[in-house]
Symmetry: C2
Subunit: 199 residues, 2 copies
DNA sequence: GAGGTCATGTAACAGGTTACATGATTGA
DNA sequence: TCAATCATGTAACCTGTTACATGACCTC
């Protein structure tokens, strides 16, 4: 149900093709919802059929034709009505956390490496978000931007994305510290009461 | 695929019934994975069939019998092997963020209220996490706990849950500020160049 | 006696993922 | 010439959600 509104919300930025949206909704880019291209193509067909978006075929030379979608009045209204509903709580679903939960009976070095990779992703996303932020601010400071813009929404979701990734980094650093301390303790088992985990 | 390992990881805490797990995996409680009771019952059947967990029927007077599940050696090994795999990135999927993205063309007051409710939830979860933390620490400080325990995993996921909810609160406070400033500007339209959104 | 908790489930459906297919163009 | 990008899609499958059902107990 909410992919529907996520797509409508994305089209507030202007018309887009399925391919364009696939880039915006890519896991590594998304800041308010993510989806695969297949989900998007299905959803776009449904939305067009329901009259919430309008499709227009753009003929291209040297490129396959593309269908470009725009919000209709009905789509805009449906999106507006959606904002008045009660959002369901976000479900935690992170494989890295499952692995972390089980790290003591599992492969500590592998989990360590996965945490480091997650941190690399977080850095890349932060860089992306920062570029987006600068583009929105367009030289103004935050207060000036907020006073002048007619759309704060994208800025607010960007802020959430940013703080999420910053927390990923902070958490990751702490996890690495703790795992490394354990690794050191495990190598000289005389030092403490630490039980060596069974792998 | 990963609900499977999430269930195995939960059983590291000791034997549990489907009902017990349903409480742990409840959206409002979960700190490393969430799932509905129906998903759990299906998954438990599959895991028992695959020999990764063992079921034992506990007869109860005055209560329906329950099936209590325990990790088998094979289940433990499978979970250990899972920790060595590459976790997939977490997908952002939050209806509140979709609503926030569209707040400017939607119902600002309703979104405001949803943000406040999300903050209430965050406070409740934080209180829960804090109780859990105190139970784990058992009077020791963090360093002492980490040196003595044979399982850091649950503590690390708890930390991630805590910082996530703290960020929800921080973000929420900022969003309320910004939306309120807009509401004030909208009521005295002479004050600035703010375009009143169409609702 | 109403509503909550314990305890388990079925059925039907909606949502999400994976693998594959096509075919031209552009850049290293 | 090899890989990536543009642009769309089908088929099959797995995961997740919703509604409903049962039945006894306990607490207000």
């Amino acid at each position: 149900m909410s992919l529907k509104y996520a797509v409508l919300a994305a089209l507030l930025e202007g018309e887009a093709s399925g391919y364009d949206l696939a880039k915006v909704f890519d896991v590594s880019v998304a800041d308010f919802w993510s989806a695969t291209p297949q989900q998007l193509y299905r959803e776009l067909d449904r939305l067009a059929e329901g009259g919430l978006i309008a499709a227009r075929v753009v003929e291209q030379q040297r490129r396959p034709n593309k269908r470009v979608f725009t919000l209709t009045r009905a789509g805009r209204d449906a999106l507006g009505a959606f904002t008045a509903e009660a959002p369901r709580p976000t479900a935690v679903r992170d494989e890295l956390l499952v692995m972390t939960q089980a790290v003591d009976i599992g492969d500590r070095d592998a989990v360590r490496a996965s945490v480091e990779e997650r941190m690399e992703w977080a850095r890349a996303k932060l860089a992306r978000y920062e570029r987006l932020r600068q583009r929105l601010l367009a030289g103004r400071d935050e207060d000036a931007f907020l006073a002048e813009t007619d759309r704060v929404g994208p800025y607010l979701t960007l802020m959430r994305g940013r703080s999420f990734e910053e927390e990923n980094l902070r958490w990751g650093r702490r996890v690495l510290e703790i795992l490394d301390r354990r690794a050191a303790a495990g190598e000289e088992p005389a030092s403490g009461g630490v039980v060596r985990p069974v792998v």
